[in-house]
Symmetry: C2
Subunit: 311 residues, 2 copies
Amino acid sequence: MSNEFSRIARYFAPLAGEEGRGLTDDAAVLRPPPGRELVLTVDQMLEGVHFLKDDAPGLVARKLLRRNLSDLAAMGAEPLGYLLTTALPAGVDDAWLAAFAKGLEQDQAAFGCKLFGGDSSSSLHGISLSATFVGHVAPGAALSRNGAKAGDGIWVTGTIGDAALGLQARLGKLADESGVLTRRSELPEPRLGLKLAGLVTAAMDVSDGLVQDLGHMCKGSGLNGTILASLVPASAAAAALGAAVLEERLTGGDDYELLLAVPPGRAGALKAACGDVPVTKIGMFQTGMGVHVIGDDGKEMRFSKPGWKHF
Amino acid sequence: MSNEFSRIARYFAPLAGEEGRGLTDDAAVLRPPPGRELVLTVDQMLEGVHFLKDDAPGLVARKLLRRNLSDLAAMGAEPLGYLLTTALPAGVDDAWLAAFAKGLEQDQAAFGCKLFGGDSSSSLHGISLSATFVGHVAPGAALSRNGAKAGDGIWVTGTIGDAALGLQARLGKLADESGVLTRRSELPEPRLGLKLAGLVTAAMDVSDGLVQDLGHMCKGSGLNGTILASLVPASAAAAALGAAVLEERLTGGDDYELLLAVPPGRAGALKAACGDVPVTKIGMFQTGMGVHVIGDDGKEMRFSKPGWKHF
């Protein structure tokens, strides 16, 4: 096993942008894009909490980047690069690191971002990772979860609940013959590049589960949000599992779709802005407070858990 | 015990600058200071690796900030603010968090920086923390560890080795009647605000031990660095322990003093730039490669460990 510094030189320095200065200095130096505001976000992933010991290292790396990229997408920002922390127990070998770095490289290329710097440490128990991302937006154009208005429609991108079902499949609790659900759990698709500024009044990504995250948007905006369960878009694989998985779909986490508040009359413009990414109206914001989910029987649904729990 | 979101609202939201948007959005928005470059750095602290379970939470918080601030100091940067990650096991109660947040508040005020955002998680084993700092410098003025030239003097700020001895004291392996050594181990003093740009050819902070960090500077600059052990400044408390602790002082970590390469003829200007902070010349850079430490007997010293090892 190579030591900390040769590991940085071998696996991480090739991923660094010029801002990272070869990863030999104490910090990165970034020239901010002229006339832009910067958007900063950090997410961590811990073994046993956010991923499982035997998960493929490349997929862990890519999910780490994509969870952060989803936060940038939720702010309407474009990515620049990131700082990485790794805390690795003694048993993590160079093969793990090589596969992890390969995953970083793959998604750096896919999303146009570079490694700016980081910190590595030993760990007594399990792998601990974090990425701090830097993105940029036009001045004043950053989206917020707190701006929804009464009368706005509640919209979501993509399909909801696949990742939570995929996690069940990965834990052996659910059959996933197509592998679609598993894939969504392993490798989310950050919804970058949608031109939402000026079109939506609020945005956030669905990471903790639709019901809980809608609750955050309602609380932040001082509103009631009511959605119809039947309108919440399901993938074919999730739909095939029927009503038995509805609660899991609505409350499970890790989808990384965008939840949007959209004023009336903008459905066409929203769909145009989202291009190939499907967007679906699932409800409305109204005066009041809290989240209401109306089931197929017309009655309000009650949930045994409000949102995503860690493993 | 309060839940994740009420903990954020109670303990961390009051620490947030306007960039943090009340810590309710997916990311922070930063307007870069006009005409400045940004400096980005991240450091993590793990229970059992970087701090001990029973360490005072306020001191852990302040050391987390100060280790990062020291990286900014090594780049010649001024701090703006930071993102924080916390991964906390179930046993961490609100009293711990309140004391931790109080420590953050104290050093935010002391060093003029604000909380921009973060991420909180549960942890299966021990407390895991990180801070990503944003600072700023004049364009092109960021220092580097890689610019030393043959003939430059090797200088350090403050005194070297106190923190390593303080750690020994905290572990009960050494007497520290004055408490000075313990204090240096618990609460480093980042050397911010020294006007080193244009004066030094290389800079870094001494975090992994003088010998190892000088080795990094030599490697980065393609030079040999030779220092005289007798010139390496000791505090009164360390000096009182005599030659028995010399190796520990030269190789132990956590000092967070600055290691500087200074061309000949600049001693007066350097001292003026450092004001109240003492600076001491301890050796020279020459052509060649590697680190040589000359002992009191005129012979090269050999070390059983090259630098700081984690607990």
